[in-house]
Symmetry: C2
Subunit: 231 residues, 2 copies
DNA sequence: AGATACTGTGTGAAAATTACACCATTAAAT
DNA sequence: ATTTAATGGTGTAATTTTCACACAGTATCT
């Protein structure tokens, strides 16, 4: 059985850690593998880079093929290069992350046979994953936890129009602690990159909250190019 | 001529951006290549990863072979994977950086023939480098500029015993701006991880300054594991 | 009409950041 | 011995930022 599998001398692969936020919980996208090794295991969406595509392009393609998702802005965050991380040979993997809105509409549907299905799974209570994917996830989570406080990544996880309470609960989920409502609002609004809309939340059985959206243009103006690293 | 060169299907390489600080200037380590392609060009120390070594191990080995330097704590910071970044084929490179004390004693002396020599070069006024090494350098510089404000990396560039003025001038060099002496000192000392020594600077023709050293133990205690990302 | 569940708001205390200028000390030059 | 050149070392007040903390308002459901 094992003998049938090819062995690799030197192969690049990509693995993707895609975060989403739903029902107050932070989740990641997993696939159920349909291919040896680790057939039937849960894993991060990941596959091998082709000869004629850049790693950024490969990341997009691979994620699409395994989950049906496209056009996310993924960012490389670490490369894993232990000798024995893949049972068939030498495979170095470049890991990417992205944050996206979980959208009931967008169906998760693997295009290739390599994945049997793709689905969201809460980041708490993650099962054991194939290869070194648990470690890859952990590294990714650490990165976004930090980045949340520097970069406007929270807005990628929320619907385009969101309430301040939703925004706060996202921060609370990622940082795993309660924040003070008044201080949180004051601070967020003080940045000046949230645009207050004339709309309100709908379909809630309590007072409807105002909706906001993230204003990329104002953000860019305020923080010039890059970031507010040194005020 | 070109025909003699092997062509690669899929190869991993490592490139190293090694920062040093000397005479108030930030410098990086370059080599003069002695091998095609880009023979005679200046380049970052870099070479190909072997089958049976992890990328971290490869980084150490390669830096040693090309420069004679060992036992630095290098950190991976980005992987460059454009299709045509190497003229002979598909080469993905994992880039590492380190910060070290430039030490007159430690001779820079390539072990292999691939480099003709290795030397320090100021980061301002860098010449054109081989491959995409200019871009790699730029990315590295951006990283450490940010990291300087979060992580105790400045001390890796200074001699073990240093004066506060030296420390300040390092910050000034990296951030490229003047800082206020009193505020700088107040802040640095307030962190509580600098240990004041009973020694003074020697051999200067003006009032000798007190020497300090970075106290790793205190630092770890103050900032627990990781960092002060969210106070 | 009342229960429920969330929205939305202000103030004062404490801490951190910023701006700012002068005398002290040493070695070298005269 | 005196001067000069160069850097070392120090404090305070104004401003800004962060933090802790509680309650009335409003929409919906019954």
């Amino acid at each position: 059985m094992e003998a049938k599998l090819p062995s690799f001398d030197s192969v690049f692969s990509i693995d993707c850690v895609i975060f989403g936020f739903e029902a107050g919980e932070l989740k990641i996208l997993l696939i159920e593998r349909n291919e040896e090794p680790f057939k039937d295991w849960l894993a991060l969406p990941g596959y091998i880079v082709e000869q004629d595509e850049s790693i950024d392009d490969a990341a997009e393609r691979i994620l699409y093929e395994l989950t049906g998702l496209r056009d996310l802005h993924m960012q490389q965050f670490h490369t894993f290069g232990e000798v024995n991380r893949h049972p068939q040979g030498r495979v170095i993997t470049v890991a990417y992350y992205a944050l996206i809105r979980i959208n009931g509409q967008k169906e998760l549907r693997p295009i290739t046979q390599y994945a049997r299905k793709a689905f969201w799974h809460p980041v708490n209570e993650l099962p054991k994953l194939a290869f070194d994917h648990s470690e890859i996830f952990k590294t990714a989570f650490g990165k976004i936890r930090r980045r949340l406080n520097y970069q406007p990544i929270a807005f990628e996880l929320l619907p385009e129009k969101f309430t301040l309470t939703q925004l706060q609960s996202l921060y609370e989920a990622v940082e795993n602690k309660k924040l003070d409502k008044r201080n949180f609002r004051k601070k967020m609004l003080s940045y000046g990159f949230l645009k207050e809309l004339d709309e309100k939340q709908k379909g809630v059985s309590y007072r409807a909250a105002k909706l906001y959206k993230f204003d990329r243009r104002r953000y860019a103006k305020i923080f010039h190019n890059d970031m507010n690293i040194d005020k």
